[in-house]
C-alpha cells in the first residue's frame, strides 16, 4: 500500500525514496482509495457529490472586483523564540483580534534548536498552540499546547471565539472534541461527545448515531443568536449536526442535499474520472471541512470542489463549484508531506466578506494555492490572489482564511508553509 506506481505523470519519472518515518504515515494513507483512513488523516479536502450537474459559475471579473496585496511585515516576529508552525485555522474576533491555531504536530527538530539543553541553535522553541494577534501583528495572548488540560486535542483543527470572548478549539484525533477557554486560557467547558481513543483505522462510519464523534471534531461554528453549535461531521461521516451550544444536547442534522440522517449511507464514497468535474450523488462525499452561518441563512462549505448552501433548518438552497477541473477525491490524492501524489479538492476553508451584505465568499484553495473570490449571491468568480510559492504573498498549502471588519484577509499555511500572512484591500 502506498508504494505502487500510479499512472499520474510527475515532472520527472522517478519514484522518490522516502526515509522519514513521519512521512510514512501520510504516504500510506495517500494512496488509499478514498477510504476512511484517508479522510481521517487529511484534514484538508472537502469532497461532496451533489444533485444535478451544476454549471461552472460564470466568470464576472468586474472593475469593482476586490483586490488585495500582501503586507509582508505582518505579523511581527514571534517573541520568546517561538516557532511558527502549521497555521491550521484562523478566527477574527469582534475586536478584530486574530486568533490562530499554531498546530505543533508537525514541528521538526531543525525548527526547535533552542529547545535542547544546552540550546543547539539560536531558535526556536515550540511555543503555544493558541496565539492572539492585534491588527498590527503583535502577540497579545498565547497559551495552550500538548497536555495543557486533559482533553487537549491530539491534532488541532478549528478555533472559534464567541461573543463573550471565550475561545473554542477542536481536533481530529479519535477521542478529540471541542473545549472552551477564557481568552486568557482558563478552562471553562468541554463539549464532550467524545469517542474512544483508538487508532484512527478502527473508527467506522456511522451517520445515524449522534451521541459521540469517534473521528474527533474537524470543524464547528456558532449561531449565537440561536445558541446553536454547527458541526460538519464530515472527515469520515457525511452530515451536518446541530447541538445546543450550552447544554450540548443534540437538536437536528442532515446529509447531502438536506436528506435526513436516516437516509445517509455508511459506505465509502466512490472515486470518479477526474478528466471531468466531480459527478453527482445524493450523499455528501467527505471530507467536509467547515460550516459558516451567514447573516441570512447558512453556508456550508463542501467538497467535490464545491460549496453547498442550506437554510439553518437543513433545506438545500444552492451550490457553487470552485475550480472543478481540479481533482476533488479518489485515488492519487496525497496528504501533507506526500511524496507520491498531490492533494485534491479546492475548498479547504472559506470566509464571508465582512461588509454588511457579506457580498463575497473567499475560498482558501490549498491545492491550487489560491484564494478564490466569489459573489456570494450567484457564485460567480470575481477575483483571486496568491499563487504557489514561498515568497511574500504566495501560498504553500493555504488551509485557513479569515477577514476582519476592515476587510483585511488573514491566511494560514500548513505542511512546509507554516506561516500566517495578511492581505490588505487595494482600492
Amino acid at each position: 500500500m502506498g508504494m505502487e506506481r500510479h499512472g499520474r505523470i510527475l515532472t520527472n519519472e522517478r519514484q522518490p525514496k522516502i526515509q522519514f518515518s513521519q512521512m510514512n504515515r501520510y504516504r500510506e494513507v495517500s494512496s488509499m482509495q478514498m477510504g476512511i483512513g484517508w479522510m481521517r488523516t487529511h484534514a484538508m479536502l472537502v469532497v461532496f457529490l451533489g444533485v444535478g450537474l451544476a454549471a461552472v459559475p460564470p466568470t464576472a471579473h468586474s472593475q469593482n472586483s476586490p483586490k488585495f496585496k500582501v503586507d509582508p511585515f505582518w505579523p511581527k516576529p514571534l517573541p520568546n523564540k517561538w516557532s511558527t508552525q502549521e497555521i491550521v485555522d484562523i478566527y477574527v474576533d469582534k475586536e478584530d483580534h486574530i486568533w490562530v491555531l499554531n498546530r505543533a504536530t508537525d514541528a521538526r527538530p531543525d525548527e526547535l534548536g533552542a529547545a535542547t539543553n544546552p540550546p543547539r541553535a539560536e531558535c526556536c522553541v515550540l511555543g503555544p498552540e493558541v496565539l492572539e494577534f492585534d491588527t498590527d501583528g503583535s502577540v497579545l495572548r498565547a497559551w495552550g499546547g500538548k497536555d495543557y488540560v486533559p482533553g487537549w486535542p491530539g491534532r488541532l483543527q478549528t478555533i472559534g471565539v464567541d461573543r463573550d470572548e471565550n475561545v473554542w478549539i477542536s481536533g481530529t484525533m479519535p477521542g478529540d472534541s471541542i473545549i472552551k477557554f477564557t481568552k486568557d486560557g482558563k478552562f471553562l467547558w468541554d463539549f464532550g461527545h467524545r469517542g474512544p481513543k483508538v487508532p484512527a483505522s478502527e473508527v467506522k462510519q456511522d451517520n445515524q448515531q449522534t451521541a459521540i464523534f469517534p473521528p474527533g471534531i474537524a470543524a464547528f461554528e456558532f449561531d449565537e443568536e440561536a445558541r446553536e453549535l454547527y458541526i460538519p461531521d464530515g472527515f469520515l461521516n457525511k452530515r451536518v449536526l446541530v447541538y445546543d451550544m450550552d447544554t450540548t444536547a443534540f437538536k437536528r442534522g442532515w446529509g447531502g442535499q438536506g436528506m435526513p440522517l436516516s437516509e445517509i449511507d455508511n459506505d465509502p464514497t466512490p472515486p470518479y474520472d477526474p478528466s471531468g468535474p466531480p459527478p453527482d450523488q445524493k450523499n455528501f462525499a467527505p471530507a467536509l471541512h467547515c460550516a459558516h452561518p451567514s447573516k441570512d441563512g447558512y453556508v456550508c462549505e463542501r467538497g467535490s470542489d464545491r460549496i453547498q448552501v442550506f437554510t439553518k433548518q437543513g433545506k438545500f438552497v444552492k451550490q457553487f463549484w470552485i475550480h472543478p477541473s481540479t481533482q476533488s477525491r479518489g485515488p492519487h490524492c496525497g496528504g501533507i508531506w506526500s511524496m507520491t501524489d498531490p492533494p485534491c479538492g479546492t475548498v479547504y476553508n472559506l470566509t464571508l466578506s465582512t461588509d454588511p451584505q457579506q457580498k463575497y465568499i473567499l475560498v482558501a484553495d490549498g491545492t491550487n494555492n489560491m484564494v478564490w473570490i466569489l459573489n456570494r449571491d450567484d457564485g460567480a468568480l470575481v477575483g483571486s490572489f496568491g499563487g504557489n510559492g514561498r515568497s511574500a504573498g504566495q501560498l504553500h498549502w493555504i488551509d485557513s482564511i479569515a477577514m476582519d471588519s476592515k476587510g483585511n484577509v488573514y491566511t494560514g499555511e500548513v505542511e512546509g508553509g507554516k506561516r500566517i500572512q495578511k492581505f490588505v484591500p487595494v482600492k
Binding site: R8, I9, L10, T11, N12, R14, P16, K17, I18, F20, S21, V70, P72, F73, P75, P77, S83, T84, R108, P109, D110, E111, L112, G113, T116, P118, P119, R120, A121, E122, C123, C124, P274, S275, S325, T326, Q327, S338, M339, T340, D341, P342, P343, T367, N368, M370, G387, N388, G389, R390, S391, A392, G393, Q394, E413, E415, G416, G417, K418, R419
Partner: protein, 420 residues
C-alpha cells in the same frame, strides 16, 4: 629599536597613539556601525511559465550584478507540480529550470538547464528532499557559467550564459547504476585524478587561471583551462600526503566549541578567494573558517557561533524528524567594499547570516532568524553579494526561495539595528 636622539616629542606621540589608541580602535571595530540590511519582500518577481523555485544550494552574482541561481528541479514534490500533468491537475506549477538569471529588480532574464540537459549534467542525488544534485554555480569574467554537481560521477561543466555547452572539467568518478543505491564512499585524500563524490564547491582565480575545489579533507587547485592538477593541501596547510583517510571523531558539543585539530573536519562547504588573495574555506564540521594563502600556507581561522554542534551522531539532514542540523557555515560572501571589510556567513542551522569582521574574525552583527516570513530563513544555504552591497540568499529543504536584502547604511552611519 633604539631610542636615541631621534626620539622626539612627535615620536612619543606616535608611540602614545600606538599604545593607547590601537586598543581603542579595536574596541571601536567591535562597536562600530556594522552594515544593516533590510529584506526587499518584492524580490524577485513571480516566475513566468508556471515555474516554481526549488531548493537553492548556491547562487552568485556576475560582473553586471545579475544574480545567478542554481535551483534543483528534482526537489519538486507532487503538490507543487500539478501543472505538469496531462491534463493539468492544478493551475500551478512545474519546476523552474535549474539555472535562473535575475536582474537586480527581480526580473528573470534567462532560465535554462535541468536534468538531462546535456550529457554529464548532475545526476539524481541524495534522497528527497534535496533530490537534485545541482549544487555549485559560478559565472566567470567572460560571462560563462560553471556548474558543479554533488552526485557520484558528477563534475564541473562550463556553459555560455545562454546555456550552450562549452567544456567539461572531467575528473569524474563512476556513476551509480540506475536504480541502485550509492555505496558509501571511502576517503582518499591522496588521489587527485577523480572526484568520486562529485564537486560540491569551487571558485576561480581567473588571473592565475586556477580552479579551486574543496573535497573531502582538502583543497585542490587545478588549471582552469586544461583541467590539470597543480597543488593541494589539508587542514592548517598540511600536505596531501599527511591527510588521514579516517572518519573525523565526534566531540562533546555541550562542553565547548569543536576542538582544534590539524585535519579538516568535513563537510568543507565553500572556497572563496578574497581580493587580497586569501583563500577562505568553510569548515562546517568545525563551525570554523580557515584562511590560507593561495599556495596553501595557513594564515588564520575563526569560529562562527561554535556553541552549535558541528558534527557527530546527533546531526539531522533535510527532512530529519530526529535531529536538527549541525554546523554553522553553509557558505560565505565578502562585503562589497574594496577592502572586503566583512565576511557574511550563511548559517542554515541557526537560520542567520552572521556578519564577521574579516580581519579580526569577530562577529559584529547578524541578519534574519528561523521562519518563513519575508526576511526570515528556513535552511539558508546560499549567499551572494552584488556591487551595491545587496545580499541575495537561497534556501533549501522546504524553504525553496531566494530573497534580497538591501544595505540600509551604505554611508557607514549608525542606524537602529533591527535585531536590538
Amino acid at each position: 629599536m633604539q631610542i636615541g636622539k631621534g626620539w622626539n616629542r612627535k615620536s612619543a606621540m606616535v608611540m602614545y597613539l600606538a599604545i593607547f589608541l590601537v586598543p581603542a580602535l579595536v574596541q571601536t571595530l567591535h562597536g562600530q556601525n556594522p552594515p544593516i540590511y533590510e529584506v526587499d519582500p518584492t524580490w524577485p518577481k513571480p516566475l513566468p511559465n508556471k515555474w516554481l523555485m526549488q531548493g537553492v544550494p548556491v547562487m552568485v552574482t556576475d560582473k553586471d550584478d545579475h544574480i545567478w541561481v542554481f535551483n534543483r528541479p528534482r526537489d519538486i514534490n507532487p503538490d507543487e507540480s500539478g501543472a505538469a500533468t496531462t491534463p493539468p491537475r492544478t493551475d500551478c506549477c512545474i519546476a523552474a529550470p535549474a539555472v535562473l538569471e535575475f536582474d537586480t529588480a527581480g526580473n528573470l532574464m534567462k532560465g535554462w538547464g535541468g536534468p538531462g540537459y546535456v550529457s554529464g549534467w548532475p545526476a539524481e542525488g541524495i534522497e528527497k528532499p534535496g533530490a537534485g544534485a545541482e549544487h555549485a554555480i559560478l559565472v566567470d569574467r567572460e560571462g560563462n557559467v560553471w556548474l558543479g554537481g554533488s552526485a557520484r560521477g558528477d563534475s564541473i561543466q562550463k556553459f555560455t550564459g545562454d546555456g550552450k555547452f562549452l567544456w567539461d572539467f572531467g575528473h569524474r568518478g563512476p556513476r551509480t547504476p540506475p536504480g541502485e543505491k550509492p555505496q558509501p564512499l571511502k576517503q582518499n585524500n591522496q588521489n587527485t585524478d577523480i572526484f568520486p563524490g562529485g564537486v560540491f564547491f569551487f571558485d576561480l582565480d581567473e588571473d592565475a587561471h586556477e580552479l579551486y575545489i574543496v573535497d573531502q579533507k582538502r583543497v585542490l587547485v587545478y588549471d582552469m583551462d586544461s583541467g590539470a592538477f597543480k597543488r593541494g593541501w589539508g587542514g592548517h596547510g598540511i600536505p596531501l600526503s599527511e591527510i588521514d583517510n579516517d572518519p573525523t571523531p565526534p566531540y562533546d558539543w555541550k562542553s565547548g566549541p569543536p576542538p582544534d585539530q590539524m585535519q579538516f573536519a568535513p563537510a568543507l562547504h565553500c572556497v572563496h578567494i578574497s581580493t587580497d588573495g586569501l583563500v577562505y574555506i568553510c569548515e562546517r564540521g568545525s563551525d570554523r573558517v580557515q584562511v590560507f594563502t593561495k599556495q596553501g600556507k595557513f594564515v588564520s581561522s575563526f569560529f562562527v557561533h561554535p556553541s552549535t554542534p558541528s558534527r557527530g551522531p546527533e546531526c539531522g539532514g533535510p527532512g530529519s524528524t530526529t535531529f536538527g542540523m549541525c554546523g554553522t557555515i553553509y557558505n560565505l560572501t565578502f562585503s562589497h567594499d574594496p577592502q572586503q571589510k566583512y565576511v557574511l556567513i550563511a548559517d542554515g542551522t541557526n537560520d542567520k547570516i552572521w556578519i564577521h569582521d574579516r580581519k579580526e574574525g569577530a562577529v559584529v552583527g547578524s541578519i534574519g532568524d528561523n521562519g518563513r516570513m519575508a526576511g526570515q530563513f528556513h535552511w539558508i544555504d546560499a549567499i551572494a553579494m552584488d556591487s551595491k552591497g545587496n545580499i541575495y540568499t537561497g534556501e533549501v529543504d522546504t524553504g525553496k526561495r531566494v530573497q534580497k536584502f538591501v544595505l540600509k547604511n551604505g554611508d557607514g552611519k549608525a542606524r537602529p539595528h533591527p535585531h536590538e
